[in-house]
Symmetry: C2
Subunit: 225 residues, 2 copies
């Protein structure tokens, strides 16, 4: 499970910004959850804290019972690299590297040999409709193509947890369907997936919806038990 208890995330400022305000949330293995809420409400902050990219100001963040909020950085980084795949709201692809090499980076810490990394990366790109763009670097790709490369990179090492921040925001309906089908397939294989989305149709199609408002969990359609 991925669990947050009484989590606060506050940024300094005049006045300070309380991006997460006493949040408690438990996500069981194998769940598929939508996170929705207004712009600026705290969704990305929630995902970053869940994925151990950001430390909370207060509260507990447990990944399978291990309290990551109190672990040293390198230990946290190890947990994260092995078990969590992140699709970022602003992609962060490596410029100057081809799409296939960008995706293969997602396999670098998994002990996978180069030929196999390339094979699996090409397969991941084909699944998001980019088999014809594998050698293009990000600056030779459209916005939606870059987004799909970011999706492929996050998923290629088959992490236990996938945290996706607006994975279809730049996509047309055909590419959106391809990405959501890929997410659905991973979920069928047992992956735990959290998707931030502004697309109400996508949110409604997932088994559980969590609503964020002003840094608080305003609504949670509920866990399966």
């Amino acid at each position: 499970a991925l669990e947050l208890r009484d989590v606060v995330k506050e940024y300094p400022g005049q006045p300070p910004v309380r991006a997460l305000d006493d949040v408690s949330l438990r996500i069981e293995h194998g769940e598929l959850v939508a996170v929705v809420g207004p712009s600026g409400s705290g969704k990305s902050t929630l995902l970053n804290v869940m994925g151990t990219l950001d430390r909370p100001t207060a509260g507990v963040v447990e990944v399978d019972g291990v309290d990551t909020a109190r672990m040293p950085d390198d230990a946290v980084a190890g947990v994260r690299a092995r078990r969590i795949g992140f699709v970022f709201q602003q992609f962060f692809l490596l410029p100057g590297m081809s799409a296939v090499d960008n995706v293969a980076n997602g396999l670098l810490y998994q002990g996978v040999r180069p030929a196999e990394r390339r094979r699996r990366s090409i397969e991941a790109l084909e699944r998001v409709g980019l088999g014809h763009r594998i050698e293009h670097p990000p600056n030779h790709l459209s916005g939606g193509e870059r987004q799909r490369v970011a999706v492929a990179r996050a998923l290629v090492h088959r992490p236990a947890f996938v945290l996706a921040d607006e994975p279809t925001g730049n996509l047309d309906s055909k590419s959106t369907d391809a990405v959501m089908r890929l997410i659905g397939d991973l979920h069928d294989d047992g992956t735990t997936i959290v998707v931030i989305t502004h697309d109400t149709a996508i949110a409604a199609s997932l088994p559980r919806q969590v609503t964020v408002f002003d840094g608080r969990l305003q609504h949670d359609s509920g866990t399966p038990r």
Copy 2:
């Protein structure tokens, strides 16, 4: 009017990518046009060529009868700075500068004094719901907040032409409505506006829709005359 005649945009490669393939399009003053089409179909390339950010490989690009495709770079830059406001698909805000200063940059070449630049920039940010974030730099803003700063910056100098590339892709419904209302108000004041969008509801709400497919104009719901 903004007019493209027989425009080709080809990128080198194995094989070369024909991002625009013999495109002709005329947009009259005061029009409000949606550009739709699949991811990778050529929409951003079309907008960049229309907005003189990219030179075509072949063909003519006329802004009010002036052939910009054959003008020297500095002359083109002058036309563009005075007359065109761009909302980019990937924002390009200046890091380390507050939201209000980022927006005020949109007024630097208009001979507007600093106090007036600040006043108008605050007003622009309030219109997109960011009055409470004016001093935040981009890295202290959410994805949707950054997008709205980019919208405010593009519009603050009241350009004759606004070219918006997915201006609501990262926004919830409330912020999307605020941005589209702002676009509608500018249009009522006579601004010529072209909006690339994957949101079929937004596209349907505009007076004209142009569909791009594989670098060609597949459909054009038509000009008002």
